[in-house]
Every structure is written in structure tokens, then in C-alpha cells.
């Protein structure tokens, strides 16, 4: 299917962060949809399976909402790139950096980014995902 612009879904309960990532991704020529909860995001995904990119915050209303949502998204669309963002990587007890690629069997996430995510960083990561 040919689409003119790529689409991205950003899921976060922080209004400021949604605003920032939306602006950044629009600048990178994405059409952006935002959601602030797991339910909202799941509904959007079920309606439009062909989203090109999902950015998911790890901690929303619950500690592990990001993981829960990532699982749900994987069930809807196995191949969609998922970037997980968090400001608490060190506090979760998960060794994000050492669990890479194929070894991350428990959940296939394409990239974990620490908040705040900078424009240049986002640009670089998206280039490597393509």
C-alpha cells in the first residue's frame, strides 16, 4: 500500500512530552496521532494497523503500562517498529542495554530511549530503523 506520509502513534500520559514528540515527528515528516493511555492507544491501533512507528512510554497510570501496551501492539501488528521511552530505566530493574536484539525474547522492542529524547537522537534512531 502506498502512502504519501508515514504515520506515527505516540503514547504518553505527559502532555508536555506528547506535544514535544509530536512537533519533532512532524518535522521529520510523520503524520502524528497521540494517545495518553493504554486503552486509547489500543483502540487507535485496532482501527489502523498500518501505523509505521509507535513510541510508547513505559510508566503511565501503572508501572508497566508500556510493556502491556507493547504486547498488545505486537499482537495486532508483529512488524511495527516500537520505541519505548522512559525516564526511569535505572529504577526498573530491567537491564535494558544488555538485553539486545534476538535475546530480548520476552518482548521485541526495537529501541529504548531515555527521556528527554532529543531531536537529533530521534532522527538518528529513526534512520537506523529503516
Amino acid at each position: 500500500m502506498d502512502k504519501e506520509r508515514k504515520t506515527a502513534l505516540i503514547v504518553d500520559d505527559d502532555e508536555d512530552y506528547l506535544f514535544q514528540m509530536e512537533a519533532n515527528l512532524q518535522r521529520l515528516d510523520y503524520e502524528v496521532t497521540t494517545a495518553s493511555s493504554v486503552q486509547e492507544a489500543t483502540a487507535i491501533m485496532e482501527e489502523n494497523r498500518d501505523v509505521d512507528l509507535v513510541l510508547v512510554d513505559l510508566m503511565m497510570d501503572n508501572m508497566d503500562d508500556g510493556f502491556v501496551l507493547a504486547h498488545k501492539i505486537r499482537r495486532i501488528n508483529e512488524n511495527i517498529p516500537i520505541i519505548m521511552t522512559t525516564s526511569v530505566a535505572k529504577d526498573t530493574g530491567y537491564e535494558f542495554d544488555s538485553v539486545k536484539g534476538e535475546n530480548r525474547e520476552w518482548l521485541k522492542i526495537d529501541k529504548i530511549l531515555n527521556k528527554p529524547v532529543r531531536f537529533e537522537q530521534l532522527k538518528t534512531v529513526l534512520a537506523t530503523l529503516k
Binding site: D13, D14, E15, D16, Q20, N24, R27, S37, D61, F119
Partner: protein
Amino acid sequence: MFKNRICKIAVVDDEEGIRLGSKSILEAFEVEVDEDEETLNFQIVDFADKNSFVINLEKEDDPDLVLLDCKLPDGNGIDILDEYLSEKDDVVVIIITAYATVENAVKTTKMGAFDFLAKPFTPDQLRHSVRKAVNHLYLKRKAVQLEKKQKSIRFEFLSVLAHELKSPINAVEGYLDLMENEIMGDQIGKYSKIIGNCTDRIGGMRKLIMDLLDLTRIESGKKKREVTRIDAATILREAMANFKLSAEQSKLEIQIKAPDKLEIDGDEGELMIIYNNLISNAIKYNRENGRVTAKLSKIEQGIEIEVEDTGIGLKEEDRKRLFQEFTRIKNEKTRNIQGSGLGLSIVRKITDLYQGTIEVNSKYGKGTVFKIRLNCSSY
């Protein structure tokens, strides 16, 4: 504090009479140790020489208490104390000896022996000494437990605090990054929403720091209370006036029902903190075109402050958590409301200073009423 409420005692003495005697006396003995008045029983293991005791010490769990004879066939009780027991903080040692000299008593006490029992001793002397040792051990263990608990509460508080401070910094940093990369073009006017958001987040952070200072000052008792004759009604009107603008922005009607003058003996700063927190909550958690009503009245024991809103209300399960530190009721209606999460826990601490009470009545979706009664002289 003691496993299965049993205190394990090792009796180390080469005299069989002492071992059997202690065993029969102590196995029939009970001690009440704590405020629950639960009793503690004793289990006795006995050793006739140094060697068997030391081997057992390495093999099994430490006893709670050791009755240690000074003179053993294969060594000296004082050496055992020095070598094996003086480092163990959780074991209490009572020295038994037929050679009770002041010199020995001083020496063993220095090595950490708790008590000194001279042979021959009566059953009552033994029981008395053991009871003393057990109480000592109980208090010591309780203190250690308390310290651990306080440390973990402190750690939890600090990690939540760090998170709360980090999130506005992240937000502002993200906005600066947008501006630095001119994501929305090179016209400063395009960034006015962003600048406004930054100012809001920084304001929120300042509020958190101020609240934190209030809270720690009240908790540590370092905040000097200045109880003087003050007019609670005028202070209420001042507090309300400060929120006039934010009420207008949220299209809220504000009402004050208070006498012209209501003098009390109280601390003006404390009263202001109570008013500010209740009013700002009533504004934040309200609905558009809603109303905030603040009432002040004289009651028998002092004054009653009542702040009512027509806002989103509280669910029963959230109401219970309301006064805990950093509790911010998170749901779809409150997601975008900012706050330090410390306001109500400060209000509660101040109310406690007046031996007052707080009552919260709320209907989810309808509104909330906070009623605070302060005990003070009112005129």
C-alpha cells in the same frame, strides 16, 4: 523479634549441676517482653567444654543468650567471649564464675558481656539476670528494626521526590531542544505556547520545593510557631483574593461565607497554608463554570473551616489515600492537573499541631467538601 517466641540459651559450664539446674529452671520460666504482653519461652542447649560449644556455634544458628562459665577444662570463658562472641551484636552473654572478682567483672564487661553471675547462684538470681538480658535484647532488636523501617521510608520518599523533580526538568529540557532545533520555524512568536508551558512547569517545581520546605520544617519542629491574636476571617479573604485570577481563568465563581471578623490565637502562616491548599485544590479539581465556597465559623472548641467545590469528586478508595505524601489521584480526569502531591499532607500536619480534625465528604463526579476544625481560643 524472637523466632517462634522462643529464646535460645546456650549454657556453657563443665559442672553438670549448673547445666541441669539452669535447664530445669529456665525451661519452666516465662518472660513477658513487649507491649502485647505475649510471653517468651526458653529453649536450652548445654555444653560441658569450650570445644563442643565453638563447633556448635559454627554449625548452628547463634543462640540469643549465652551463659558462659569462666573456667572450662579446655579453655577460658573469657577467651571464648573475646574470640567468638564479642563481635556478635545480636548475642547477649552472661558470665558465670566462682571467682567473682571486680577485675574479672570489668574485663568481661569491656568485652561486651552483659551481666555477671557469681556461683553459687539461686534460681531467682538466674531468672532475674535472664529476664534483664532478654529485655535488653528485645529493646535492641526493636531499635534495629525501627531504624531499618525508617531508612526504607526515607528511601521511598526520596526516590518519589527525585522523580517528581526530574519530570519538570525533562519537560523544560525537551522544549528547549525543540527551540534549539527550530522545529517550529525561526519566528519566536510560534513558540509562545512552549514558553508558557515551560513557565508553568518551573512554577510547579518551585511550588514542590516550597511545599517540601514547609513539610520538613513542620516535621522537624524547626518551624517556629508564632501564636498570636489573628483575624482568621480577614486572612481567609486575603487567601481567596490571591486565587481570584486563576478562578476567573477556570470560569469559576468564588464565594466566602465568613463573619466580618473572627479573632483566634493561632499562627498566621499556618492558617494561610491551610487556606491556600484547600482553595487551590478546590479550583484545580473543579469543572468549568463551577463554584468554590469557603466558609469560616466559630465553634465551641475554636474555628471550623469549610471549603466546598463542585468538581470531579473522589472515589471512596482514593479518599483513604488522600493525605499520604506524593499522593496524587491519577485518573483520566486529573491527568493534566499539576500539583506537588504534598499539599494535603502538610494541611494534615498543621491540623495536628492544633489537635484538630479533618473531615472529607465527597461524591464522585459531584464535588468535595473539606471540613477542618482547629482547637484554639476564638474571640
